[in-house]
Point group: C2
Chain length 596, copies 2
Amino acid sequence: MSEHMSRRDIDFLLYEWLDTLELPSRDRFAEHSRETFDGVLDLSEDIATKLFATHNKISDRTDPEIGPDGKVVLIPEIGQALSAFNDAGLIAASFDEELGGMQLPHTVARASTVIFQAANAATTSYAFLTVGNANLLAKYGTPAQIDTWVRPMLEGRFYGTMCLSEPQAGSSLADITTKATPVEGGSAELGDAYRIHGTKMWISGGDHELTENIVHLVLAKAPGGGPGVKGISLFIVPKFLPDGTRNDVALVGLNHKMGNRGTTNTLLNFGDGTFGDGDGAVGYLVGEAHRGLFYMFNMMNEARIGVGFLATALGYAGFQKSLEYAKVRTQGRPVDAKSADVAPVPIIEHADVMRMMLAQKSYVEGALALGLYCARLLDEEQTAADPDARDRAHLLLEVLTPIAKSWPSQWCLEANSLAIQVHGGYGYTTEFDVEQFYRDNRLNPIHEGAHGIHGLDLLGRKVIMDGGKGLQLLGETIGATVARAKAAGGESAEYADQLAAKVARLGEVTAQVWASGDPKLALANATAYLEAAGHIVVAWLWLDQSLSATGDDDFYRGKRAATKYFFAYELPKTTAQLDLLASLDRTTLDTDPSWL
Amino acid sequence: MSEHMSRRDIDFLLYEWLDTLELPSRDRFAEHSRETFDGVLDLSEDIATKLFATHNKISDRTDPEIGPDGKVVLIPEIGQALSAFNDAGLIAASFDEELGGMQLPHTVARASTVIFQAANAATTSYAFLTVGNANLLAKYGTPAQIDTWVRPMLEGRFYGTMCLSEPQAGSSLADITTKATPVEGGSAELGDAYRIHGTKMWISGGDHELTENIVHLVLAKAPGGGPGVKGISLFIVPKFLPDGTRNDVALVGLNHKMGNRGTTNTLLNFGDGTFGDGDGAVGYLVGEAHRGLFYMFNMMNEARIGVGFLATALGYAGFQKSLEYAKVRTQGRPVDAKSADVAPVPIIEHADVMRMMLAQKSYVEGALALGLYCARLLDEEQTAADPDARDRAHLLLEVLTPIAKSWPSQWCLEANSLAIQVHGGYGYTTEFDVEQFYRDNRLNPIHEGAHGIHGLDLLGRKVIMDGGKGLQLLGETIGATVARAKAAGGESAEYADQLAAKVARLGEVTAQVWASGDPKLALANATAYLEAAGHIVVAWLWLDQSLSATGDDDFYRGKRAATKYFFAYELPKTTAQLDLLASLDRTTLDTDPSWL
């Protein structure tokens, strides 16, 4: 049993809420059953507890460094844990059997993932960056590229990275300057050969000695493309070439971070001559030239949902730790029994501590529900019998992706802050675990698109594309829950009314901001839109969960208490955000930087 | 010039807003003038910049440790900086000339303090803990106690601590178990002698080699007191006794923290026999027995406002750093000019970055205004000619203290988070400064009364004492600003209407929760009350500042932009909080811990 995640909650979400057991009726998952799913989850808990959680703190205290030989030095526990993970076949959990994978539904594979992330976010990242890389190549690569790079990744012999950002171009990919020059020497099978010159920044897992090879997926500009993002192509640039020679990819430096320390984060030079003649690192084109961003976006959506899970896992681990603490730590007395003769009570009995526990629960379990709901949509998109259902799942996933990335990154970080607060002074010390979770989690609103970028994505793209079909579909989907909740009556019906009003208002506000006819003004408060939409979506998922939690045992009562909390304390926060949007406030546009 | 604080802002607050130049007309400050005030601020900037800021990062990376001889090892820069501070007389800035002090107004002394805190919060704490200690003893100590302990503290030869918490009793002082037993050997001058046995936790500055001696102020239970807090007395327990012998105060361990590392934080044993015969550490009674908490509260109010300044300073430093960064870092293009042919713009030109800058500005300058306003009230309380004015200042300060502690601790931490966000990935690295500010600042919602405690203090004590006179006075004081703003017309009048409505609602809600007749229910959402009241108070102070910022230069425009931001983005957040309070929501009371 993992102490960082509630297995009861995972089982509830999979089997009582998301109808995961319907999936084995589909061809792709025909070999699976509750038994195989539980087997994977049991195995995940076992490995995560015994090999991942055990070195999380050591890893935090031992920032990776570059040894005298220029190689990255990591604590050995990282490699040992990952080996067990790979040997159990978990790195290929959701991949095709044909590629050596387990062909698990994404819903179950993600539930397995989050167990590892909660136990040790940093170590886990090496594997999941590789999964994302392999997914992209499995989809867009040639058979030879798959044989050469994907299969070894799915065996855990190679790891993968995504190389997008550059020192001068983080969020703005249009400004990357890494260049790709076509050369002789490639092959139709492995892809056209190019030489790559440039510098890539913030590359997680960018160098290490954990595997025989590292497969970098690199965005670079090849001749003949348009300006900006149109000129970008995608290349496989392995650390070692297929013939075993060292490619000219040089580790320039490691970034030292406030958290998430176990994952090396690197500055890499491609083609600077360190391991070559200066003619450039050898890269193999993926797919067609100039379509690099299209391929990468495919992987980025997955990576964004993955960041949401990472944030969720850290929030969840802090929730579990502070819950345990709040139940045993005694301090103070009830407001109505202040006499010193009365024994101090466990702090969870104080209203404000209970508030902090319910807030954490609503954030972390709400975020987990959101992430698994998205994974379920991905399964639906890929395996639903009805093509229309596939399209709907795809569209809904498009709308939900910015929220699935940003909402957990914001609120599970807040959960970690509350976990510290519940621990009092102890929570601020390195003797306890929660301060590390907080530091680790502060990364998540930054990478894979900074928080504000997702507001622009949601309000500027997702809710208006196809004439607003995405938002309409979200409204219909929530509407179905609202109808069920109304039929259920009682508190559910009250929540349904509140939620329906919010969804209607969100639709109105969306129309209002775009009716301005001025994209700059419409998008000025896109972050408030993102946050309001996120709270509405999570309120919906809480209501939906609560409809599956009608029993009398403590677990169901807890789900209903968290739902009650979310509707009383959280959803009303959106009123101010939606009012701000409706007012088309110009404060940020009209302030001159020189005034600050 | 300090890069961590805006001197222009300090000057504005002191001279254009708080009418600090009226103070030299009072006897106590007759030796002072704008010239002496500016001299202190100039000197503070100079020492803070040259000696405090310069080792802030090194100090963070060099966690204090216990050397082989059992002594605390600090980097030498801490002692060097503090020596310069002491030698300049700044440690005694607000003390009586008779005690060797400068007899500066608190308003100016606090402005000096915050400059040091922004440059290096951790190093500064040794001095300001000492100031708090000396203040208490100067007020309640005997002449001999003052000569023996206060004078050396004001010369910087001794430092002081407050020893309240114990491992089992943090927020709950009723449960302390440290015992004081009266013995022969004291003197009427130095105070009755006691022997002290017990363990104190979280003692900042609890041990070090910076000074000849450390003066611990220790809460302990002496025979004959009532149960709980009534039995508590206050003792001076110096590390070295007046005859030079070592007192039995033993360093048991250092707490290793996520931030604020330069300040040692200790676990101390009193009377465990390490430096004595086991009969107990020698302590000298302060004032009368069993009135310890009364004396300590006097110091705690000051300490609480001090924590507010500490949080403010860290938030301010992050604001300054991120402002500088946002103006020079280029990335991306305006929403309405996306072509790659257009050069990237400084990120502050993006609406969401400007939002993050205005939010930070409104938090940190709002918090500084709040802190200095409280310092001005303290001057008023102590030196106003009219006794009635003194009483009013005292009462208003009582009401504002929980807000002055908690609001900056919450929102200047949020400012630090935004400063990281503005820096993107760079902000997450230890190469930049902002991640340290964020870690340092996470302490402030915890110590000197955890966040929730101040909600209970405000709603459970301050706003209802004397039949609600405190809240009434706050309402009248805000009302005066509202009247001036209405007279000014324009946007000011609009803000005045919004603010007046909020103040009225706060009054109604206060009455509503107490009308329940059930203290447990009335206080169930005291934290929401604290936060709503805090936002209303800071909105008032922004409106009041803006009325003094009517000129045309950039600085005044910036003040008005921040006011606009606060009324558009921040004040509306209180609606949901006040609605929650008015609903007398029982969620936290009705949830059983076993359900979580």
